[in-house]
């Protein structure tokens, strides 16, 4: 995780996010691995289609870095809407994906980030 901005550091932020379930936006998870990771992020939050509160969590993937933002949106008119940034923001990179529960010593890895093999070419992206 890198570039962490906690709630108190964000300027002009909205009121605290009430513990309602946010909607999720997943952007740009195109590869097979990306799709699995995207689904995992979506399942972190309970699945509720009621859309009570207007809060949305966005996971945006760009060049193997995933950016997380939390916003609240309002509809000012029919065509215009506004957003207000709420929660913390951070950037995360996938290090490894394990099969089964977390066992760093004896677990089976489905995907492991290998620095000297995978990050050599700027064009080859994995997620």
């Amino acid at each position: 995780m890198s570039s962490v901005r906690l709630r108190k550091e964000i300027k002009r932020r909205g009121k605290d996010p009430i513990g309602h379930i946010p909607e999720i936006i997943l952007n740009n998870f195109t590869t097979r691995l990306g799709h699995s990771v995207g689904c995992m992020f979506a399942f972190l939050f309970p699945h509720n289609l009621q859309f009570i509160r207007r809060e949305v969590a966005t996971f945006h993937n760009q060049r193997d870095c995933i950016f997380f933002r939390l916003h609240r949106y309002i509809f000012k008119s029919e065509k215009k809407g506004g957003i207000q940034e709420l929660g913390p923001r951070f950037t995360i990179k996938l290090r490894s994906l394990q099969k089964g529960t977390f066992d760093s010593k004896y677990g089976d890895y489905e995907w492991v980030h290998k620095l000297w093999e995978m990050d050599i070419s700027r064009r080859k992206l994995h997620i």
């Binding site: 099969k99 004896y106 089976d108 890895y109 489905e110 492991v112 290998k114």
Partner: protein, 385 residues
């Protein structure tokens, strides 16, 4: 089409979803074979081995304790046999003299009569090997000898024609420098040809060589590699070294004479589940949880030859040991037509090269429909200045 060409597949891979995939590396095609329609997790393939009669039949051991027979000549499943007894998935499958040997995780080894017409029959022989078995391997030189090993289950060699006691029972190494017992976790076993020796790789990243002919029951040689459990192992042609793979996707070649690391192979991103070397060519097939089948060349030069993305997690593989990897011609008509066309077009293009660039489009239009295919290919070569 897939069924007809099944015999020419070079690698057969079993997946976690129960599908048997046949991959033809020459034509770069992969075909799925299922016994019944939908893939299911209950039928996850846990063991694969060649059946009787060369490489014409494959025995597929599934997680629901059935062994299915697959014919590579016909390209379809022929029958199945339910093998109950014990708990857990199959950890080893072998065939000898018309009988089928199965070993499950709870340590029950059974020898079954190999008539696949019957749904199930009583086993001919039953052995209890000890719980927590990770691998059962058959000696290719002496098919009635099998070796078993697992977690807290030391390496044992059994003679199926002999007594109920193991022929060789390995002893654990001495206590380590803190005077603590060294735990045992044999993940894979291989028999070394032309000797009685066995090699095992463990979950505590050790590679050990045992020699039943020597008076000591402890390992003759021990080497370590990496920090992660070694999950699969195979012998190289020449049999002086082994290639091991661990849960991080690292592949390494370890020399058995001195116990040192010869080199590594790059590419895998997930846990290595299956490894096999070709008996004569320097090729290694590897499959793992990252869903990709890779074929590496291990000598001159060391590198990746083929990479095939197969959509499910791969559990085990079988590499065809045949020498010629080219296909036999399927349809005799095609090869006759192709050389005729090529010679005609070659002559025509040779005569066109002398002409100026501006005149080329005119000449192309007058040639006729046969040349349109060639012209489309030439366009990226930029005939325009």
């Amino acid at each position: 089409m897939a069924a007809a060409g099944a015999r020419w597949n070079h690698v057969w891979v079993g997946t976690e979803t129960g599908i048997l995939k046949g991959v033809n590396l020459q034509r770069k095609q992969a075909a799925n074979f299922t016994a019944a329609g939908q893939p299911r997790r209950e039928e996850a393939v846990s063991a694969l081995c060649w059946g009787a009669g060369g490489e014409t039949q494959i025995l597929v051991g599934c997680a629901d304790r059935t062994v299915r027979y697959f014919s590579t000549e016909e390209g379809r499943f022929q029958g199945q046999k339910h093998c109950p007894g014990g708990e857990g998935t199959f950890r080893g499958l072998a065939q000898v003299d018309g009988t089928l040997i199965t070993c499950v995780e709870s340590g029950i080894v059974r020898v079954w009569r190999d008539n696949d017409k019957e749904a199930s029959s009583d086993p001919l022989l039953e052995l209890s090997v000890g719980p927590g078995v990770c691998r059962m391997r058959q000696d290719p030189a002496h098919p009635h000898l099998i070796a078993t090993g697992g977690k807290e289950n030391a390496l044992k060699v059994w003679d199926l024609q002999g007594s109920e006691e193991p022929v060789f029972r390995a002893k654990n190494v001495r206590n380590d420098w803190l005077d603590l017992r060294v735990p045992i976790w044999d993940q894979d076993i291989q028999f070394l040809p032309e000797s009685q020796k066995l090699v095992t790789c463990t979950g505590y990243h050790q590679v050990r060589v045992y020699d039943p002919a020597s008076p000591q029951r402890r390992p003759v040689l021990e080497a370590t590699y990496g920090e992660y459990p070694l999950t699969a192992m195979t012998l190289t042609p020449g049999a002086n070294s082994v290639i091991v793979g661990n849960t991080h996707g690292q592949l390494a070649e370890i020399d058995l004479r001195q116990g040192r690391l010869l080199g590594c192979l790059k590419g895998l991103a997930g846990s290595v589940r299956g490894l096999q070397c070709h008996p004569s060519k320097p090729l290694l097939a590897s499959c793992g949880l990252d869903r990709v089948l890779r074929v590496h060349r291990i000598r001159n030069p060391r590198g990746l030859e083929h990479k095939v993305y197969l959509k499910s997690q791969l559990n085990c593989l079988l590499l065809s040991g045949r020498d010629n990897w080219e296909d036999e011609p399927q349809e005799p008509q095609e090869p006759k037509k192709a050389p005729l066309e090529d010679t005609e077009t070659d002559e025509l293009w040779a005569s066109l090269e002398a002409a100026a660039k501006r005149k080329l489009p005119d000449l192309e239009r007058t040639q006729g429909a046969l040349q349109t295919r060639r012209r489309k290919k030439q366009r990226p070569g930029s005939t325009s200045p």
